[in-house]
Each structure stands twice: as C-alpha cells, then as structure tokens.
Symmetry: C2
Subunit: 304 residues, 2 copies
C-alpha cells in the first residue's frame, strides 16, 4: 500500500450533532494506521471507513477535552475484545494517565496488551515518534488548556539509480545501495563518476500537519511551512470572531490566513461549531483567502 | 403527551458494529424521559431520535460494563454545554461513583448541575424511584458482575366518574376527587350510593421490564409477570448456547422462554452479538416459542 491517506472519522466540535461526530482522524502511512484524536464514536467510524484494528499503530491526542478523547475508552475495550496483544502507545499530555487508568483498571482487566502513555510537552516543537517511514513532531497550539498539533513527515527516501548507468559502468550489485544513499562511483580505472550522473532524486517527502484546537497563532507558521496538507480548525465564521477568541478557536478566515502565510499546498478545514447547519459558508470564507481549501466531512478519504 | 413510548438508541452488545450501537434506551413517560443504559454514542442517538435533552429526568445503569455506560461521559459533558442546571440522578451500582468522578472533575469543571449517584443493590428487588406517574424497581439479574434490570410501572390512575351520575345525584364538585379515589357518595337523604355505581375503573397500569445483561434466570419471572413489554437480551442463537453460558448471556430461545413463563404481553429482543449480521434468525427462534416477539433496532419508537 504505497500511499499516505487521511481518513476523517469526525470533524464536529464539542457538541456532537446528527451531522458530525467529534474529532478523530486516521492517517494511513503505507498500511500503518495512526489515529489523531479520538472523540466519542471514533471506534464505530473506524469500522465504517473500513480501517483494520490490527493495523492501528499509535494514537496521538492533541488535548484533554472530551470531544477529542472520550472515544478512547470504547476503542481500548474493543481492541481488548478483539484480542490485541501488541503494545499501544498513546501520545498525550501527561494527565491522560490519571484519567485513563481508573477506567481501564475497571473495564479492561482482561486486556492482553499494554497501553503506554508517552507524556507530551505541548509547549515545545519536538519529535515524539519515528519509524522507518515517518516521523512525528508536536506543534504548540494556543488553546484554553495545554494543546499541541502534530506534524507527520515522511522520511527522505533513497534516490532512484538510473538502470542504464549500472550497465554502462558495470556497477556491482553491492555498491548500488550506497549510490542510492548518495555515494559517487569509482570505476576500475579510478574514474570518479559523480552521484548526480547515476541517480534521479527521490520524490519529495510528504508532510501533513494537524492543528486543532487553536486560536489564531502565527507562531505555528514556520513549523508547518510548505506542508502538502494542513488540517486547521475553523470552528467559527469570521462574523463570530468574538466567540472564537473567547473559546480559543479560529475562524475559517483565520485558518486560511495561516495556510496562506505558511504556503501550504492544500488546506482542510474542520471542527465545525454545532451552530452551523451548512458548512459551505465556512468553506467559501476560507477560499476567498486561500483557494486551495477543502472542507472535512465524515467518511472523507484523501490521498496526500 | 399522554403516552409511554420506548425509544431504542442502541441494541448491539460489547463490540459495536456499523449496524448497531451499544445498549441505550429512552423511556418516555408522558414527556419525562428516562434513559436506561448509556453505551458509547448514546447522546448522538438521543439527538437522532429527536429527544429533548431538557426532558431527560433520570438515568438507570444496569451494570458497569463499558458497552452500557461509556456514553455517560459525553452525555454529561453535552448537558453541561447546553446549560443544564437541574440535578441529574444516575441510578447505578455504587462503584460508578469512583469511575465517573475523576473524569467529571477533569472534563466537566464548569458544570452548573449536580450529578447524584443513587447506589443500587442489584441483588434485591426494591423500589428505587417514584414520582406522580411512575415507579421503578430493580430486577436482580444473573451476569458476570453485579447487574440488575428495571421494572417501570405506571401508577394506578384514579377511576373515571360517570358524568350522568354527577347530574343524577347532584354530586358537589368538592366530592368528585374523593369518589374518583374510591369513596362512596351519601345523598342528602342519607342514601349510600356505592362507588361502583358512580365510576368506571381506570385503564390498566402500563408496565415495562428491561432485562439486560443476563443469563437465563427463572427467578425474574414473578417480578416481570404480565408486563406489557419485556425487553430481554438475546445475545446469541441457541446454537451458541455454550458461549452464552460462558459469558452470562441468553439465547433468543431462552428470552422467549422467560417471556412465555412470565405471560408478558409482548417481548422485544436485543443486545445482539456482533457475530450475527442478520438478526432475523434470532427473531424467528424466539417467535417459535413466543409469537408476540419483536426485534429491537436503532431508531425504533414503540408505544407501550
């Protein structure tokens, strides 16, 4: 599965409606699934989107508001019933430990896997996870309680070696991987063939930034600069900016402003307030500032 | 609103599926709403069924398995956001207190209503709630952990006085309510007119019994005898009886057997295992024993 795909499980805000689930997303990085936030009903949406529980690798929780984590209880219980044995890491603000443990000790006593909480410092931009293909770092956000977003960056892939050059210079198989990593080739006659003649560069690394919940904050711009997709909350219309400020949320216009400043390739808005039945006006408001904007909806799958 | 109406919010079991929500019901007793169990997603289903949060009066939790109570966290948070001020009583096994408080202290700090937990003794059949129109008592069930069902009984309504008799005997207005409650009437001449000549009896009291989760238990039969509607779990088919016994659940056939023995008017089955994609075979199995059986489904509203 050679893709990076974002799945929207829920894109509503604190008050779930009949139209929107609270926040949850799953980033599929070549078959490894990373859950970002887990609002109530996340496990059911996970099933609806046809995602495999056995593929769930790590969970990232932006902050400890109920609409971003109340789905953890049911999800962990389901993973336990399904017989999971592999450890599950939840990256979250440290207080998560004291909230989750009492419930788990009571309800998930027969669990055959360990839940490991990796306590985050939401105030720092630091790497919190990496594997062979991806690394994840925190994005400090501006909200009523400690909150951070997450930047997912694909790791640099090796360059492609040009088939014809292997034949032309009789390059031995054992040297190919070094050349892919950037080495020059020295012929038997001692001629140095520069790497740039032998390879074509790998495709650009894909980057996805998740920023929710947050008030307008230009501090995040350098961190998310140039990402392929930015999810930025747009809880309110600009007309309700007073309410947005009061609750440490952003307007659709502000989300677009951040996207523009950070020169991202695409913006996705979400985390809509329950007051908007139709989210088209939010989308239009953002597109006026940043045309490459799309609106999240439950069930959306998008290749980044 | 002169009715007693049952609303099915969820009728699945421990593993929610794309077809079924975990268990939750709302009994509407003349406009007062009583929630019975609150599995994950209960608040969203509550909205979908068009029920008013302001009408939610009491919550009854049968037992502390996640699929019967993980929806409480989000529901309480939503009631708080909606500005509820009136106390909310949750009838549940005492341990609920230690599970709910830490989460509420963290997530519902700005709450303007009190959550009062009424600790139940699930081993006794005792009255735990009454108001002007209804009384509720516990039904001890047989499950892996302390569990009880709930019997909702409409209170005896006053008899109807016969209009023509008021005119015939010139009955003064002030005596009418006593006669409705059963008093005889004494004319000015001292003649005793027996109550039975003056009134027609009120309609039968409506009774609803909720029994989930439970293994087959004939002990409940005397308590639920003759109810208008019995909800009895039917997690498994009779063919999977070994699994039912092991997990303290019932088969559809056993649910029907209990309904038959208790001479109930109607049986509703539910709490289906995720293994059954189609629940028709469960319904047929029950109907073979007890023809007046219906199958619960999400969104069902039924007048009792």
């Amino acid at each position: 599965m050679d893709k990076i795909e974002l799945n929207i499980l829920g894109c509503g805000s604190a008050l779930p409606t009949t139209r929107h689930y609270p926040t949850s997303q799953v980033l599929n990085v070549r078959g490894n699934l990373f859950m970002i936030d887990a609002g109530e009903g996340a496990q059911q949406q996970y099933r609806r989107l046809g995602l495999k529980f056995s593929r769930l690798k790590q969970i990232f929780i932006s902050h400890l508001h109920g609409d971003h984590c109340f789905g953890l209880f049911g999800l962990l219980s389901t993973l336990s019933l399904l017989g999971r044995t592999g450890d599950l890491v939840i990256h979250a603000y440290g207080e998560m430990e004291e909230l989750l443990r009492p419930v788990m000790n009571k309800f998930c006593r027969d669990m055959h896997f360990k839940v490991i909480i990796n306590p985050l410092s939401p105030w720092k931009n630091e790497m919190i996870y990496e594997d062979r293909t991806v690394k994840v770092s925190t994005i400090p956000l501006k909200h009523g309680i400690p909150t951070c977003g997450f930047l997912f960056e694909e790791k640099q892939k090796p360059a492609h070696i040009i088939r014809e050059m292997i034949d032309f210079y009789n390059i031995p198989v054992k040297e190919i991987s070094q050349i892919k990593e950037g080495a020059d080739f020295i012929t038997e006659e001692g001629e140095v063939v520069p790497n740039s003649r032998l390879t074509t560069p790998a495709k650009d690394r894909i980057k996805y930034a998740y920023c929710s919940d947050t008030a307008y904050s230009e501090k995040i711009v350098p961190i998310i600069e140039g990402v392929d997709l930015l999810f930025h909350e747009a809880t309110f219309m600009q007309a309700d900016l007073a309410r947005a400020k009061q609750t440490f949320h952003s307007s659709a216009m502000q989300a677009a402003e951040i996207a523009k400043q950070a020169c991202v390739k695409k913006l996705m808005i979400g985390h809509y307030s329950a007051r908007y039945y139709d989210i088209k006006p939010l989308l239009e408001e953002a597109r006026n500032i940043f045309p490459e904007t799309i609106a999240a909806y439950e069930g959306l799958k998008i290749n980044i």
